[in-house]
Amino acid sequence: MNSGVITAMKPRTFRRHFRESFKNLRRNGWMTFAAVSAVTVTLLLTGVFLVIMLNLNKVATDIENDVEVRVHIKLLAEEKDKEQLRMQIESLPEVESVDYSSKEEELQNMIKDMGSDFSLFEQSNPLYDVFIVKTVRPQDTPNAARKIEQFEYTETAVYGEEKVENLFSFMKTARNIGVVLVAGLLFTAMFLISNTIKITIFARRKEIEIMKLVGATNGFIRWPFLLEGLWIGLLGSLIPIGAISVGYYYAEQALSARLSAHFIEFIGYLPLVLPVTGLLLIIAIFIGIWGSFISVRRFLNV
């Protein structure tokens, strides 16, 4: 007689659950296929979208970080006046760094960027000496520029005014939309997958009923289902992870070659693919197990 306490799971039982979960995947072939497909499609969407979002964000941040205030120094300013201006600029709380660039250096840069036609100006250099000012937060650039304009030895302080402000507000909106979309996509994925798993388990409620009739504990019934959910999640993540790993390799190569001329740089292969695929894997595992858990629980507590 097998009465008395129900003891903790034996390793043999765990191996049995393991085996059983694989057998169940095979026995319920079509249901497995449906659930795996649901995971695949949603994770693929989520993954591709994440890749695009992260890269847009990277490009936006790069552009933002390139924003600088160019402070033209009055031509009359002496060495000590320049020093005073530098101190004034540096004392502003928004300012991160101040670099000096003489008008000769400015001209050389211009010749380098624009071509040797500009070497004509070497005779009589029309440019200003400048301070190149970077702010701690890119959004503070307009503010800092306005303050710097007030200083005695500032001729002008330029930062690409409207363009920059438009860019900032555009980026802010784009980021917010992106976050909402990713969240929505993940939520849909969870919902779709747990529903699919619920249907596969609903089809097997008779099985659960019979397990209970012959005296299976709830834990014993639940384990193979949880493992099954885990396998479904993992199987479903294979194609999205593979597609993103291979796809991004080629996309990055093709696009960065074409876009590097415009100073746009994408996130490198490994720094992008590792976290994204890692995240997809975690989502897949979590969704698989969680979906099974929720669904089995409904049929256990009758």
Partner: protein
């Protein structure tokens, strides 16, 4: 073995299935539960394996009151009570061997022991040679024999059967009844709800008749007592 004391069962929809039932069934008895449809036979059966809880009164199985049994202790009770149904309740995707072995796997019996015990009961029900077949490949009578094999494979003290011959033709029904007799001879208590007049009147055993939720008749070696 099984005792009911003043058991009343009211369902949430207002139907009173049983009222004030007192019964004692001893170890090793073979008991028919008879009565018109809807008289409370199935409720009587379900109370024994704690599918239902009585609204009032007490149910004792194997010396333990199962009324206050906690959810997590129900599996322990189920392992002492084999159940057989009219619709067999086999798992269609498992083969015959796996269906029977299942009842032992859930109580974590060693694989070697499982094999031995399953083969023994399959031999007892005469289906050892069909161990690898799926339930759907078998006749109704054979499926019911598998269900019976599953119900006894862990040597329970009681086997509860709810209309076990309800879906079977007369010849097959007799085979099934002979099987129950064999199991009973090994000392297992059998409680069987049935509509089969011929069987009750031929294989004479204790008969408990339930009418309108009450015990109308309780006779040793009784007869069916209703027109079929």
């Amino acid at each position: 073995m099984i005792e009911m004391q003043g058991v009343t069962k009211k369902y949430p929809n207002g139907v009173t299935a049983l009222s004030g039932v007192d019964v004692t069934i001893k170890q090793g008895e073979f008991v028919y539960i008879v009565g018109p449809s809807g008289a409370g036979k199935s409720t009587f059966i379900k109370l024994i394996y704690r599918e239902e809880k009585p609204s009032e009164g007490n149910v004792i199985v194997g010396g333990i009151s199962i009324v206050g049994l906690r959810q997590r202790s129900i599996p322990t009770l189920r392992r002492q009570v084999g159940v057989v149904f009219q619709d067999f309740k086999l798992l269609p995707l498992l083969n015959v061997y796996e269906n029977v072995a299942f009842a032992l796997e859930v109580i974590e019996v060693e694989p070697a022991v499982i094999y031995k015990q399953v083969m023994e009961v399959l031999d007892l029900v005469g289906l050892k040679h069909k161990a690898r077949m799926l339930p759907t490949e078998l006749s109704g009578g054979e499926q019911q024999r598998i269900a019976i094999a599953r119900s006894i494979v862990n040597n329970p003290k009681v086997v509860i059967a709810d209309e076990p011959t309800g879906n079977l033709d007369p010849d097959t029904s007799w085979d099934i009844m002979r099987l129950f007799e064999t199991i009973n001879e090994r000392g297992t208590t059998i409680v069987m709800a049935t509509h089969n007049k011929e069987i009750v009147n031929t294989i004479r055993r204790r008969v408990i008749a339930i009418e309108n939720g009450r015990i109308a008749r309780d006779e040793q070696r009784g007869d069916y007592g209703y027109e079929a």
